[in-house]
Symmetry: C2
Subunit: 236 residues, 2 copies
């Protein structure tokens, strides 16, 4: 059975079910597991000996929160993370995630100078996730332009930012990352992506998986991620 690629609406419905009173998960919990899976997947492709400095670009929503968690785990995995976080979310959880990074002395900036951007070996794009739609607003439009122009490898979290969640990189608005980490299940836009592709989210109850016919692959060992680069799917 082929892995299912989700529409934006189905992705939102699954998210709501996980966080509903019957799903029982808190954002704290699943963001922790999501961020951990992102950091784990990065170690599989970009070794910290060759790619020590990782710039994590964090957006204003859950995708940015996943990025803040990933930055912390990357630190513990031996990387030197830097965080660009221009629009800090005014929620207790996000404020705590920032404190946790500050306690590790991870530099956090709201301004992206040439040197801040270029003095890295790897970029993690945690700007927009599956709930993105419409236009990219300031200051993220400038960041997307930089990402389009960089030669550094880019790892996108859940979807490549500025891509349409279902249709992909329409009108060439976004960039093509070298690696994508889909969370819970890949979104339709990932059918247009041909690079290294990992799946994170080893917490989906089998009943939920069956209900939405996700046909998730098996995760190996105790890994929080699985390589789905060559997983059978109905590519376009």
């Amino acid at each position: 059975m082929a892995l299912k690629f989700l529409t934006q609406r189905i992705a939102q419905t699954i998210d709501e079910e996980l966080f509903s009173s019957s799903g029982g998960f808190s954002v704290d919990q699943l963001m922790e597991l999501a961020g951990l899976s992102v950091a784990q997947a990065i170690t599989r492709v970009y070794d910290n000996s060759k790619y020590p400095r990782a710039l994590i670009c964090c957006g204003p929503g859950n995708n940015g929160g996943d990025g803040l968690v990933a930055a912390r785990h990357l630190f513990h995995f031996g990387y030197k993370p830097n965080i660009y976080y221009p629009k800090p979310t005014k929620k207790e959880l996000y404020e705590r995630l920032v404190i946790q990074c500050q306690n590790l002395k991870i530099p956090i900036t709201a301004e992206l100078s040439d040197s801040t951007f270029n003095d890295n070996d790897l970029i993690i794009d945690a700007i927009f996730g599956f709930s993105f739609s419409g236009e990219v607003r300031q200051p993220f439009d400038q960041v997307i332009r930089r990402l389009k122009g960089t030669k550094l490898p880019i790892v996108s979290v859940d979807i490549p930012s500025a891509w349409d969640v279902e249709k992909g990189n329409i009108d060439n608005r976004g960039f093509t990352p070298s690696m994508l980490i889909s969370l819970t299940a890949p979104k339709l836009c990932a059918k247009h992506f041909n690079g290294k592709h990992f799946l994170g989210g080893r917490f989906v109850p089998p009943e939920l998986e069956r209900k939405f016919e996700l046909n998730l692959p098996s995760y190996p060992g105790t890994d929080q991620v699985v390589d789905i680069t060559n997983a059978p799917n109905e590519k376009l």
Copy 2:
């Protein structure tokens, strides 16, 4: 530098710092990482092909919460967990952890019959943690008696339940587990333990580690646990 073994008071102080406004962690977050580390350590010693059925005995506090999280991850790692949880904690977090296990169809019972107990391949003792002191009250006194009598392997979370946190198994009140997973740092009682010993808690900021001179070992790869069975320490 030898790994530090903590007094009860220092363990409590470190815990308070992690969860303080300057530490920034929530119980949700660190319980998730603690439970994940417990499940991961178990896979290293008790393979799910030989030890599929794991009875997780959960106490009324944080140690029990770690057990509930571990049960969920053990399920995702291919085990068949059963939960004994006689005194459910009336807090939102714990109620959600129970729902998450129920959604995986993990049996949860408040009664421990002979068959419920014996029809397992492995016992996880998540009854009491580092804040335990005094007498073991009902119904946990009966459980401790069962654990003293069983021939099944027992894995203890943080401390072997009923042991004095600093002095160990005084007056032979408790049992000797086959494996111990210390969280954050081992407690003094672990100096009296000679079985398989793992450490979980890959989230301690270096500054906190230095302040309390923990001398933590390095965690390998992206593991959430490290084997400290043969780590240098000042054994009694």
